[in-house]
Symmetry: C2
Subunit: 519 residues, 2 copies
Amino acid sequence: MSASRGKQHSSVKRHQQAAVKRHQQAAVTLDLHAVILAGGTGTRFWPLSRRLAPKQLIALLSDRTMLQETVLRIAPAVPAERRWVVTGGDLADEVGRQLRAVDANATVIVEPAGRNTAPAIAVAAHRVIERDPDAVMAVLPADHVIAKSDAFLRCLARAEEVAREGFLVTIGLVPRRAETGYGYIQRGEPLRVGSPASGAKPDADASSVTLDSCFAFSVARFVEKPDRAAAERYVAAGDYFWNGGMFIWRAAAILDELRAHAPAVAEAAERIAEAMKAGADRNRIADLYRTIEAVSIDYAVMERTRRAAVIPAELGWSDVGSWAALDDVAEKDERGNVISGRVLDFGSERSILYAQDRLVATIGLKDVIVVDTPDATLVCDKDRAQDVRRVVETLEAQHAQEHVTHKTVQRPWGAYTVLEEGEGYKIKRIVINPSSRLSLQMHRQRSEHWVVVAGTARVTCGDRVYDVKTNESTYIPPQTRHRLENPDPAIPLQIIEVQNGPYLGEDDIVRFDDDFGRA
Amino acid sequence: MSASRGKQHSSVKRHQQAAVKRHQQAAVTLDLHAVILAGGTGTRFWPLSRRLAPKQLIALLSDRTMLQETVLRIAPAVPAERRWVVTGGDLADEVGRQLRAVDANATVIVEPAGRNTAPAIAVAAHRVIERDPDAVMAVLPADHVIAKSDAFLRCLARAEEVAREGFLVTIGLVPRRAETGYGYIQRGEPLRVGSPASGAKPDADASSVTLDSCFAFSVARFVEKPDRAAAERYVAAGDYFWNGGMFIWRAAAILDELRAHAPAVAEAAERIAEAMKAGADRNRIADLYRTIEAVSIDYAVMERTRRAAVIPAELGWSDVGSWAALDDVAEKDERGNVISGRVLDFGSERSILYAQDRLVATIGLKDVIVVDTPDATLVCDKDRAQDVRRVVETLEAQHAQEHVTHKTVQRPWGAYTVLEEGEGYKIKRIVINPSSRLSLQMHRQRSEHWVVVAGTARVTCGDRVYDVKTNESTYIPPQTRHRLENPDPAIPLQIIEVQNGPYLGEDDIVRFDDDFGRA
């Protein structure tokens, strides 16, 4: 029996510790802006991912989320003032929370609506140029695994050099197999720019690309996801590389190319950047986003430009496109299982077993994915991992909740968990961060009983302001202005809220004042 | 996709409706006492079964528990005053609750400790004889499936006739396959007693036994669970039948035989029955149980007596020995799946998929068992269903809780569910049945906040007695006598209890007065 207790991702712990070590050791310094794209809305990691907790914001391989890993990967080489994260409006609070949690600050650019990568990159390029007209920027997806952090940073340093010469540089990952789920980049002629590491030969084919060669080539062509036969030809040919969606270029250069190849997108992005600079309100910016075409940077620029370059590299990269892809990147036990959380396993093989708060017992499974969360469990044949999106589509059609949020919902002031909902009542556990408070608010339909179970609450109820200590309770009648605050600078406040009333939806709320601009 | 919503056991609904119909139609009247053995403590249906919710007390195939199905099966033919249920002390409350819930009363005999079937049957025989010295009694396990209720009652009627002639009658189930998990009974010569149904031939072999023949034979021998080869020989021979643990005999006859073949057990059982008759307290009876040998009636009597008889029958019987055995008895969808609860399935085959409160999504499984409960999930290859007990053994060794009780714990006055437990607090939803109340009690360590979410609570707190209505709350300090009562004769009372204190174990309770004898 292989038993794994507690909430720790125990089987992937070594992976994580190694990653931390790498972060600390990195000695490369990069003179570039890192723009992390964190706006994705994948469905393939349900039930761990939700609409409001997409893949980049969940912890798949360590106790850190993919976004946190991505930021920490570049943090030793790029200071906070040159880090940017682009994300959607409904994810921005959580992105900020996750960055603070690992002490890795960045400027967050909020997109009111996701419009694919070209608009996100264009707006970010304008913002970067505001700070430094000559800046080089690296565009990095927030939800990929890169096992070899040092090689990655060295690769970025080389790419920065090539980008300064005016090239639009991509990183081409050395293919490990004839994968049909990725796009490919065929390299062209070697570029005689910058200073490739000694020993690298300009005529090297993919098989001789080593970790440190970082040699740049022109791009012969970009290829969309191929069929099996084509993928096998590409891998055999040796001059094709996986397209990992990582780009390095001068911010001014990508805007020039965008103006040349996608002028409408370029213009719209410029208007948006100007509005942001002028401090326009969110409605105005949302209106502007509605006018911009949703298009990928690959389609808008890379497949058309003559300035594309590719640096082949072997970085232990994976886009972790589905639960089955964890096979590639997570540490396994002696029978090939990836196990996380409180799992009691008896003799399973090649399976992916994720538990969270509850006990999961597995017996004799072969190539099965089990993912347990507080409100939903997935059990899936590993070969069918792509069909997880069908579950999400079905839940959407049913107007269900299990694909939207987790039972625990993060808020800028803390978090709440719905413990139970019944006829006429709802019970929440609410955690308020130190020195934080909810909005001054009112509910039309429901009353609330609050029992403090840890810390001290400062309560506003009507005209009164009073403190409620641990093991004390208070009552908020309907249609009464109230506010819940944690005045302590260090200790989280925890309360149990019992709501009563004929209607208990989250939208029965009138906000009068809010620290987070929601009033 | 095959979707099944809500808590209904939808795929087994027709099975249940058919069963109800059968119960209503039965026209046989039996002049016997039915003694239902409901003391089992199986582990093979974990996580649906727990130590305090063993297989006979859970709903596997319908909305009714196996015990309820067993009682309702004989209820049309045996009036309440001739029904007995033997069970363990820690199950007695729940047995009573389940009997009341289906309006099928019976006298419950409580065993302070399980001592296998011989002591249970002997004590029951004494109790039956107290009421009627000439009584015939049928001994019936509480956790078996019998699909053909009418045939079963007709078979019992015939067995009663043979038992009145002095025989110890067993029912031999016509084997459907070379099962190695059951014991077998080899029939001997036909018995020329009573009045077998017309058309039955005394020299009939097993293959000619029809539903209605109910012909009795002497027993050539009882055989323990055989190996595969022996089981195949038995089935081919035609004169072997499955031993289903059902017995019919004169109560006086089984006691005579017990005195002859197991005198120590017989004597100890007689002392216990006398003590019960004399109204001895539970400690005295527990002491007496400690002296009695734990032995099966098969070993103590049936394998030794010369008065054994067997009536072969085809009753759609199964002992449902494991999750995999549901294949035999539950209704399946077009791909061979048994599905219950809110399951979203995409293309699974021959799988057993049980959801309770939460969503379970399954994709492409083959021969897999998935059982989800509020605190634990099992995912098991169907061929490994017997290994579920290893999970329970491991949980026992870990002093875990998930094999002992469910999150919802039944009490004689209602039920409670632990919604969450954290550092220094515990939250329960408590339901108090109409006109019921908890004991007058006190906790040394913890205080309790009660918020009424449905109904009206009558609260005793110290010297005060007051009513708390829906949406009102009250506070019970530590070391204060208190009582919670539902005075309404019809509406269940529902409260949310938030406990606070340094120690929150269920054993921090002092009972001063109790309607259920627990003070």
